[in-house]
C-alpha cells in the first residue's frame, strides 16, 4: 500500500513539474534559446500570488488569471527588446545573455524580498483527501489539476489556434514560415511571452505548496532541464510525460536512497538520458 501512496505522491509532484517545464520547453524548442530566466520567473509568480493573497485576499488559484497577462507582457518585452537582437548568434551568446538577465532579476528579488523563506498559508486550509489507503493533501491535488489543465490549454493553443500554428511553423522551418508571411520576430516575442506566462502561473500554483524564496529559482530551473531532456524537447506531451516520470522517479528514489540524494538521482538520470537517448522518451521532431 505504501507503494501506491508513493506513486500518487510522485504523480502529483510530476503534474507540477510538467507545468514548470512546458513553457521552458516551448521556448527552447521554438527559439533554440535556453531561458535561464525561467526559474526566476517562477519565483516571481510565487511572490505575486503571495502578495495578492496577503494584501487583497486574492486566492492563489485566481491569482493565476491576474498573473497571466502580466507575465506574458514581461516575457514578450524581454524577447522583443533584448533576446531578439542575438537570436541568430551561436548558442553560447544567447545562453550567456539569459544568464546575465537572470543574475539581474534574481538580485533584484533578493534586494526587494530578501532571501528568507516565506510561506503562503491558506486560511482556512483545504484539508486532505483520503481514498482508501491513499491520502493526498487537497491543495496539492487541486494545484496539480490546474497545472495539468494549463499544460493541456497550451497544447490546444498550439494545435488549434492560428497563432499556435504559426509558432509550430516557425519551429519546423524558420525560413519557410517567413516566406509564408509569418512575422518571425513577432512569433518569437509571443512564444517567449507564453513561456513566461506558464512560468508565472506555475509559480502562483507552487506558492501554496513550497516555501518561497529567490534562492529556489535554480532548483526549479534544474527541474525544467531534467523534464525537458526526459520527455523530449519542445513538445507539450513530452513535458507532460517527462514531468510525471521525474515526479515518480524522485518519489521512489527518495524512498530507496534517502531524500538527500533526490537531486543527485535526477541529475544522474539527466546525464544518462542525454547520452543514451537525447531525443527523450517522446522524442520526435516538430512541435505539436
Amino acid at each position: 500500500m505504501l507503494t501506491l501512496q508513493i506513486l500518487v505522491n510522485g504523480l502529483v509532484l510530476g503534474g507540477l513539474y510538467a507545468c514548470i517545464a512546458a513553457g521552458f520547453s516551448l521556448v527552447w524548442g521554438v527559439l533554440n534559446v535556453i531561458n535561464l530566466l525561467h526559474g526566476s520567473f517562477i519565483v516571481l509568480g510565487s511572490y505575486f500570488a503571495l502578495f495578492a493573497y496577503q494584501s487583497i485576499g486574492l486566492h492563489p488559484f485566481l491569482a493565476i488569471l491576474a498573473a497571466a497577462p502580466l507575465f506574458f507582457a514581461l516575457g514578450a518585452v524581454v524577447q522583443a527588446t533584448l533576446v531578439n537582437r542575438v537570436i541568430t548568434a551561436p548558442v553560447l551568446l544567447t545562453l550567456t545573455l539569459t544568464f546575465g538577465l537572470d543574475l539581474m532579476l534574481n538580485n533584484a528579488m533578493l534586494v526587494a524580498f530578501t532571501a528568507d523563506y516565506r510561506k503562503l498559508t491558506l486560511d482556512p486550509p483545504l484539508g486532505v483527501l483520503s481514498l482508501g489507503p491513499v491520502t493526498v493533501p487537497l491543495d496539492r491535488l487541486v494545484a496539480m489539476g490546474l497545472a495539468l489543465a494549463l499544460t493541456v490549454m497550451l497544447f490546444l493553443v498550439l494545435s488549434r489556434s492560428r497563432v499556435g500554428r504559426a509558432i509550430v511553423a516557425v519551429r519546423m522551418d524558420r525560413e519557410a514560415a517567413a516566406l509564408m508571411g509569418v512575422d518571425v520576430h513577432r512569433i518569437y516575442a509571443i512564444t517567449f511571452g507564453i513561456g513566461a506566462l506558464m512560468a508565472g502561473a506555475a509559480g502562483a500554483l507552487l506558492a501554496i505548496i513550497f516555501p518561497i524564496s529567490p534562492i529556489a529559482s535554480t532548483s526549479y530551473l534544474g527541474k525544467a532541464f531534467v523534464v525537458c531532456v526526459l520527455g523530449g524537447l519542445g513538445s507539450v506531451p513530452g513535458a507532460m510525460v517527462g514531468g510525471l516520470a521525474l515526479g515518480v522517479v524522485e518519489s521512489f528514489g527518495a524512498l530507496a536512497f534517502g531524500p538527500e540524494h533526490a537531486s543527485t538521482l535526477s541529475f544522474g538520470l539527466l546525464i544518462l538520458m542525454l547520452v543514451v537517448r537525447p531525443t527523450g522518451l517522446m522524442g520526435r521532431k516538430g512541435y505539436d
Binding site: W28, N32, I34, L82, R85, V86, A89, P90, V91, L92, L93, L95, T96, L97, F99, G100, L101, D102, L103, M104, L105, N106, N107, A108, V111, T218, G222, F225, V229, E260, H261, S263, T264, F267, G268, L270, I271, L274, V275, P278
Partner: protein, 315 residues
C-alpha cells in the same frame, strides 16, 4: 618577426612585470594578482574547448572543485603540497577524458547542459561523502610552514604565476600546432572536418582534457591558499560562467584575449564588489548583458575596428 615570436616576446614581458609585483605590491595587490592569474588560468583553459573548438562547456566548476578537493584530501593525508597540486591536475584531466567520451557526442545546448550538470552532481556527491570531504562542514587544510603571512602570499602568487605560464605555453603551442588547426576546423564545420580525416573524437577529447588539467591544479592551489573549502564554494556555477564571460570579453579563440578578459573582468568585479556589495551579482549580470549585446566579439575587436576606422596603415 613572425606572429609566434611576437606573441612569445609580449608574453615574456607580461610575465616579467607580473613577477615583479611582490617587490612593490601590498598584500591587497598580492591577493588581486593571485586572483587575476587564477582567472587567467580558468579563461585560457576554457579557450581550448569553448574558444577554439566551439563547444559551450560549463564544466570548469566541476574541474575546479574536483581539483580543490583532490588536492585538499591529498594534503590532509600528508602528500607534499606540490605533488598534491600535480595530482589534482592529473585527476581532473583523467575525469575529463572519461566524461568527454560520453558528453562530447552531444552538441549545442545539450552539451552545455550536460557539462553544467556534472558540477552539480559532483557538488551533491561532495556534500554526501562526509567521511572523505567533511560534507557540508567543509574541509580545513594544513597551513604551510612559512616565516610570515607575506611569505605565504608570495608563495601562492608565484605558484599561480607558474601555472598560468605553463597554461599559456600550452595554449600557444596548441594554437600553432596541428591540434589547434584541427580544433578550429571542428569549430567551423565538424562534419566536414571529420570527412577530411581529422579524428574529431580524439581532437575534442584532447581539447576537453586540456581545459581540465590546469583548472584542476588551480583549484588545488586555491584550496591550499584559502585553507578552507566547502562544496558550494568550489563547485560554484560562477566558476563555469566567469571564464566564458572573460573569454567573450577578451575575444574568443585569440592568444591574449583570455588574459586581457581576465584582467578587465577582475578589475570590474573588484570595483563592483567594493562599491555595491548587495547588488554585485545584479551589476555583474548587467555587464554580461551589455557585453553580449554590444561587444560580442570582445574588447580586442575594438582595437581592430578602431584601426580600420583610422586608416589602412594600422591593419
Amino acid at each position: 618577426m613572425t606572429s609566434r615570436t611576437r606573441q612569445i616576446v609580449i608574453a615574456l614581458a607580461v610575465a616579467a612585470v607580473l613577477a615583479a609585483l611582490p617587490l612593490w605590491g601590498s598584500s591587497y595587490w598580492m591577493r588581486l594578482g593571485t586572483f587575476m592569474l587564477m582567472y587567467g588560468v580558468l579563461a585560457m583553459s576554457w579557450n581550448f574547448i569553448g574558444g577554439m573548438t566551439g563547444y559551450p562547456s560549463f564544466a570548469s566548476a566541476a574541474f575546479f572543485g574536483l581539483g580543490a578537493y583532490a588536492g585538499a584530501i591529498a594534503q590532509k593525508h600528508g602528500v607534499p603540497i606540490a605533488l598534491a597540486w600535480l595530482w589534482a591536475g592529473l585527476l581532473a584531466a583523467a575525469f575529463a577524458s572519461l566524461m568527454g567520451a560520453a558528453l562530447l557526442r552531444l552538441r549545442g545546448h545539450y552539451f552545455a547542459i550536460a557539462s553544467l550538470v556534472v558540477a552539480e552532481v559532483l557538488r551533491e556527491l561532495a556534500n554526501a561523502a562526509t567521511d572523505l570531504t567533511g560534507g557540508g562542514m567543509g574541509l580545513n587544510l594544513p597551513v604551510p610552514q612559512l616565516a610570515s603571512v607575506e611569505a605565504q602570499a608570495r608563495f601562492f602568487f608565484y605558484a599561480m604565476l607558474a601555472l598560468a605560464a605553463l597554461n599559456f605555453a600550452a595554449m600557444l603551442w596548441v594554437m600553432h600546432a596541428k591540434l589547434g588547426f584541427g580544433l578550429r576546423c571542428i569549430q567551423q564545420n565538424e562534419a566536414a572536418a571529420d570527412m577530411l580525416g581529422i579524428n574529431t573524437t580524439a581532437y575534442k577529447t584532447a581539447a576537453f582534457v586540456l581545459s581540465a588539467v590546469f583548472v584542476g591544479s588551480a583549484g588545488a592551489i586555491y584550496a591550499s591558499w584559502v585553507h578552507y573549502i566547502e562544496p558550494p564554494d568550489v563547485f560554484d556555477v560562477l566558476y563555469s560562467v566567469k571564464p566564458i564571460v572573460m573569454v567573450l570579453l577578451g575575444g574568443a579563440g585569440s592568444v591574449f584575449g583570455p588574459l586581457v578578459g581576465a584582467a578587465v573582468f577582475l578589475a570590474l568585479e573588484e570595483l563592483v564588489w567594493r562599491n555595491y556589495l548587495t547588488i554585485h551579482s545584479g551589476v555583474l549580470g548587467l555587464l554580461i548583458v551589455l557585453l553580449v549585446l554590444f561587444l560580442p566579439k570582445g574588447l580586442l575587436s575594438l582595437s581592430s575596428r578602431l584601426g580600420r576606422r583610422l586608416g589602412p596603415s594600422s591593419s
